[in-house]
Symmetry: C2
Subunit: 211 residues, 2 copies
Amino acid sequence: MRQRYHEQLDDLSEMLVKMAEATTAAIQRANWALLHGDRESVELVHDTAVAISAQFRRIENVAFLLLARQQPVASDLRLIVVGQHAAADLDRMGQLASHIAKIAQRHHPDCLVQIEGCAPIREMATVAEQIAAKATEAIRVRDAVLAAELERDDDRMDALHRRLWATLLSGWQDGTESAIDAALLGRFYERYADHAVNAARQMVFLVTGRA
Amino acid sequence: MRQRYHEQLDDLSEMLVKMAEATTAAIQRANWALLHGDRESVELVHDTAVAISAQFRRIENVAFLLLARQQPVASDLRLIVVGQHAAADLDRMGQLASHIAKIAQRHHPDCLVQIEGCAPIREMATVAEQIAAKATEAIRVRDAVLAAELERDDDRMDALHRRLWATLLSGWQDGTESAIDAALLGRFYERYADHAVNAARQMVFLVTGRA
């Protein structure tokens, strides 16, 4: 019984890592769809986001059963509670990647982000991939240093977001529809990074006991 | 000890209702700021959102302590788990109301939503208030019928969102900046409604044991 309990806790950790890996794959594919106007990638991102949500439901179920049957305490309880929060963030990241890919699809076969005003978005795409990979690693090794680094990466993302807004508000040259989509992309990347940092912060809480 | 436990569970329910009431107040004030260009309301929404987030942290703490010390089972455990999910949705609703108010502030003393193209946004604001009030009631009385009604209200919100997008993409007349803010407002109201429906759906799960 007790051995099974520890296996289930390990499963939960493993599921979180797999979910984080999937959010990294999702943003890489969404970026590819956006930067190269690749339509096939849009479908792939959607499928990945659906799989991530299914994984989220599985984690919720495992967590609930562990709470109901094993009455965990101390660090086990922390893992279960924190794991659910982190899973909610990762789920949202999958959906945001899917939103990004959908905007790429709306412009197909044109490539929105190749226009001059979208330079900050191209950088946001790169930073989002870096943040996703680092958040995955932070979740795998539960590393407070990596989580702290993510806060700085998130500052870079916020600075890029501000630069995009400055461009949007100071004489945007590429029409209303592009401006709206650029603004939405900016928001989606910024939210994606926020959720990644949140997920990592939860892991710091898990290791150090501090929020 | 056992009496204290039941008091804490009741406190948790009560805190959720208070939080839901605050999200209703927040969207009412955000709408006022937006529809009347009222600057003072913007500050009030911000303060309300901060108070809602503080309430969220308190609920998380109470829930964690209940899990750690009381090892709840069955319907008590469900309340604690579901309560945390609903609280996360309510927290997000407060933040979205604050985002809406900030857009109002950006246009002060002009009033963005009085322009013709923003007619769907004015309706979305009304629907958001109705949804907020209904979600609060669903959380208070844990009523599956109300929660089901909310799904229909959410369909109305989605239809308005589509109407707004049609307007934005078919010859918007009021400049790029207004178009961006109208698109963002549409998204914020739609997300606000989604979270309200989610919170209510959790309560259905609590009563019926079905998701």
